[in-house]
Structures are given as C-alpha cells and as structure tokens.
Symmetry: C2
Subunit: 337 residues, 2 copies
C-alpha cells in the first residue's frame, strides 16, 4: 500500500487488521483478545479490578501541527495509566477506541498505534480490544485501561488526615512550559526546555511509584495531576474533608519552566505552575508514622524525586504560603469555559 | 439553572456532578465508583471479566434531528451490552466517555444520561465512572462495559463445526427499515413500522438469551449483528474456519420491513435485510446434540423467538439458497468507504 494513502482507502476491518498485526501475543491470563465481540480476562484471586477511561480530542487536547502521531498514541495510554497509578493499581489491559477522520494518513494511524504499543510494552499492558469508527470532525483517541490491586491496598482521594505531609512526584509546570515552547517553536538548543516539551508530548506515568505507595500503605490519599497541582490539591482535600497549606517555595518548578513563564509569558512562575495542567505526576499525603517507609520507597523508585510541598490541615481552607504570608490557593483550569 | 442553557455554561465538573446526582448507589462489589481517578471492582472468584467498548458518533451513527437524546444514551449502552451478550457474559459495570459540543443543551445532556441509566437499571449495570471532554465537532458517546462469566462458559466466534445449525434471535432488517422510515418521517400509523423504528432507536440487547446460551453450553459459537446478518455470518464462519448455507426463505424479515424495502426503496427484501446493520440480535450455532437444550432455553427466554436460518458446512463457501438455487452471500457494510 502507498504510504501516502489515507484511512478512507482502507475500510474499518483493514484498520483493525493493521493494528492487530502489530500487537504482540497476549499473556496467558487473557483468554480472548482482539477480534471477538469482547475481550475476556481471567482475574487473579484476592485482587480488585481498577478501571478508567480518558480521551484525547484533536483541537482540544492536541493539535496535529505540533504533536507527532506517536506522541498522540503514547499520551492517550499514559493519561489512563496515570489514573491507575494514582489508585496504586498494576496496569494489565487496555482497549483502544479510535474515531478517525477519513483523510488521516495511514502512516499517521500506524504511528499512533506504535506510540501506544511502545508505552504498553514498557508497562506490561496487553491491548485486548477496542473499536474503530469514522469521524466527520476531529481525530479522537479514547482509551480504557484496567489494572488490578489487592482490595485493601487501594489508594483513594479520600483518606488524608490533618498533620499528614503533602507530597508531589517529579516536576510541576513542566508540561505547561513545554506546551508553550512547542507552540512557539522554541527550545531546541535548551536542554531544560526540551525536557519540558518531552514531558508535555510523552508523559511517563508514575506507575512504579503508585504501585510502591499502595503496596506499602505509605499514602493516606493519592490523586494524579491531570488538571494542575492547584486543582489536584482541591480534589484530594475536598474528598477527604480537610484543608491544606502549600508552601510556594517548595513547589518543584524546573528552572527552564520558571524562566519561560517569567521571561516569555510575563507570568508568575509559581502561579503558572500551580494552574498548569497535564503534569501527570502524583499528589499524595503521608501520615507522620509512614515517613520512614516513604524514604525507603524513594530509594527504590528509579531516582524519581518526590517533594514535600505542604501539610494537611483540619481547617477546610486551602492556603498558599509565600514569604511568610498566606493567600488563597488559585483554581485549576476547566474544559468548558 | 435555565433549562435552555448549554453545556458551555456548566463546566466539566458541573457536568460530572449532574450525572453523578442521577446515578443510583452502586452495589456492594463496587469498592469505588464515580469520583476518584478510577473505579474499583472486587471480582467474584472463578469468574472471567469480559470487557468491550463501542461508540456512537454524531453524523456517522446518528443525527440529532431525528434521534432523540434518550435514544442516543440508551443505544450507546445497548451496543456494548449486545457485545457482552454475544460472549454469554452477565453485564456488571459501565464507563461513560462523553465528548460534548459546547452548544449541546443541558436538557439534552440530561436526557442522554437518563436514557443510558434506564437501560443500565434494567440489566443491573452500575455506571462506575467515565470522562467528560469538550468536542470542537460532533457529539461522541463512547461506552466501555464489563461483564463476568465462568471461564469455561465463554462463547467465542470460533467454535462452529460442520453440521451445526445456524440461528438468529428476533427479526432481521427491522433496524434498517426503521431507520429509513424515521428519516422519511413515516410510520406513525403503522404498528409494524413503528416497531422497526423502535428497534433502530432503542435496541434491546439480547442479554438474557446470551446468558442462557452460555450457561447451558448450547451454542458452539456466537456473534452479535452490529454490521448486518451477512457480515455476522462471515465473521463467525471465518473465525471458525467453516462455511455456511443460509436459507433465504427462513430469514425472519418482519412484514412491515419487507414491504418498506420493496415498495418504498425498490430493494429486494431479503438482500436489504441481510445487508442492513444495527439489528442487535444474536447469531449463533448449535450442535445437533444440543438442539433439545436450545428448545428448553427458548421456552424461558421471555418469548424472544429464535429462528434456524441455515447450516454450517465444511466447505468455506458462504451460500444463500433461494428457491432451490445457490448464490454467494452478499457482503455487509463497512464504515470507511
């Protein structure tokens, strides 16, 4: 087939065959994978199934002019694995629902699938099914992921208690700075900024950290940072019926991101980082008695840094402490307004 | 809130709250439902999990000018439950991924959710999570459904053997005739045609029949009729490495549908019924030794008729026998061409 051909030259079944040919053989606990009415999984005993779904929509979450197709496929799975990581679950299977404009080049379809499968292989996730439909508008990549966990090891959003430390993994604001640099076509010669672009394009979900936090019962509550740190703090504390004080100076904003916010966008770096979405990091709370256990985990978490950024409070207020003064924590972003 | 307001007046979180307020409390085996990063299900022992996903896209699968919003929500779940039924699985949970144009009236959003929840209640399905995103184009309703089954009771597409009888549930061609009548604005005074319209708008998935066929090990293979009977016969026989002879006279085309095809569309009724998609019936094969067991099942299947329409053959050919002469079975339809 001509590599310049588009999806409308293929037909739905040929698209499925094309994807199926690239999927590695499933593990033994997949009793039926791609190609039947549904996939069949034989769960282990004494395990809970954890299920999540998240979508990337062209024109809303990405623009094909600056996001390569591999990144679209990779990220569509990553955002789901990040949700499973926030529960402490081990990812096992994924379903891929593709809604394809007829004009999509077949090579882009292949690259989307390749990006997804590369990340799936990295975390031992089996693609077991999905669905193909035509789109009269944008490209839509909707993924459902299922993981498993021992029932008593699940990390929910509720569970944080006054006095718990508030921690984040990795770096905050990197994805937003990377997105802005990408749109501006900047950052090729700047290693820090290139790292931010990478974090926006192909976020690496914190699967291992989530597993360790859950298995070792270190975190009293956990959430991932899809809509920004400020929003995540609000989600977790609201679900737990508590408040928090966040220390602005302790938020780990990468230098390249802080510079971009201040110099190119005229934004306050801390505020921009707090509001910036798509940092697929974990926000979690740790009771005082589990801090040693956290330190032990971090030594085996592949060098991923975790930073204490604040404390859970009994008062419901959400405060940002900066140079000794407290202000209200800003809001995150929302999709419809 | 003004009932004329649209989704862009609400924001993503308000949409989630609106849906959540309408969802009944989940059963005890749902350890975490809507509102966390992912849903947590505690599976039973000795059960397989069966997962499927299917989508409805505005402008491809429905047009809001003639499909009411309740029907969109109901059908989006029905097509998934139909896939689970074709595996013999008992449906348990669903995830709802909504991609919403900002201009969608809030009352339509509520009606979509109401239609989905009504069908969910009927079959004991718990809505445990999902995702909301903005659409720059069409309304997209993507559902993932998970069911369970004893591992040895799963019905796959492969498994049909020469000599097995070929059966379909319900009526064939009803959905296509109903769709055509709906677009033409016809059928209000015609009970048969109104039934066809109903079958197109709010198909009732064959959940109970699928469960009975699986539990009693009656069917050697099974598939649902999403893309038409001819296509389903092709899918099932290809997966099983066999062929089939279908008897045209035995295909249960409702009289109102046959009349519509012949008189209004100038189509051959059998050919139109064979090619028409969206009859969410089950096609299944039954070995000779299980025919009595099938009869026993049909007596307890709530009056849903099943009709023998042909026989599985060792030759790979797919033949349509009509007035004693054999011709090639026509193809089904496909989404991209």
């Amino acid at each position: 087939m001509n590599p310049e051909s588009s999806v409308s030259d293929l037909g739905e079944r040929a698209v499925i065959r094309r994807i199926r040919a690239r999927v590695p053989p499933p593990p033994a606990w997949v009793a039926a994978g791609i190609g039947d009415d549904a996939a069949v999984i034989v769960p282990e005993r004494n395990r809970s199934e954890v299920v999540t779904t998240d979508v990337l929509v062209e024109g809303v979450h990405f623009d094909r002019s600056y996001v390569p197709p591999e990144a679209i496929g990779s990220k569509a799975l990553a955002v789901n694995l990040s949700d499973l990581a926030a529960m402490g679950a081990e990812p096992r299977v994924a379903l891929l629902s593709l809604i394809l404009p007829g004009s999509l080049p077949v090579r882009d379809l292949d690259a989307i699938v390749a990006g997804l499968l590369k990340l799936a292989e990295r975390y031992g996730v089996a693609l077991v099914g999905g669905n193909i439909a035509r789109s009269p508008g944008p490209l839509v990549v909707d993924v459902t992921a299922i993981g498993s966990i021992k029932p008593r090891r699940v990390m929910l959003r509720r569970g944080a208690a006054p006095g718990d430390g508030l921690y984040v993994s990795g770096a905050i604001g990197a994805a937003r700075a990377g997105f802005l640099a990408l749109v501006a076509g900047a950052g090729d010669g700047d290693e820090g900024l290139a790292g931010c672009r990478e974090r926006f394009l192909t976020p690496d979900p914190r699967v291992r950290l989530g597993l360790l936090l859950g298995r070792n019962a270190v975190a009293s509550a956990c959430v991932d940072l899809s809509d920004g740190l400020a929003d995540a703090v609000r989600q977790l504390t609201t679900a737990s019926g508590v408040g928090a004080i966040v220390s602005a100076e302790d938020i780990p904003v990468p230098q390249a991101a802080a510079r971009w916010f201040a110099e190119r966008e005229g934004l306050d770096p801390v505020d921009a980082a707090l509001r910036g979405g798509e940092d697929y990091e974990l926000l979690f709370t740790v009771p005082r008695r589990r801090r040693r256990a956290l330190e032990a985990i971090l030594r085996s978490a592949d060098g991923l840094p975790c930073t204490r950024i604040g404390t859970v409070t009994a008062s419901r207020a959400l405060l940002l402490r900066r140079a000794g003064a407290d202000a209200d924590l800003p809001a995150g972003f929302t999709h419809f307004r």
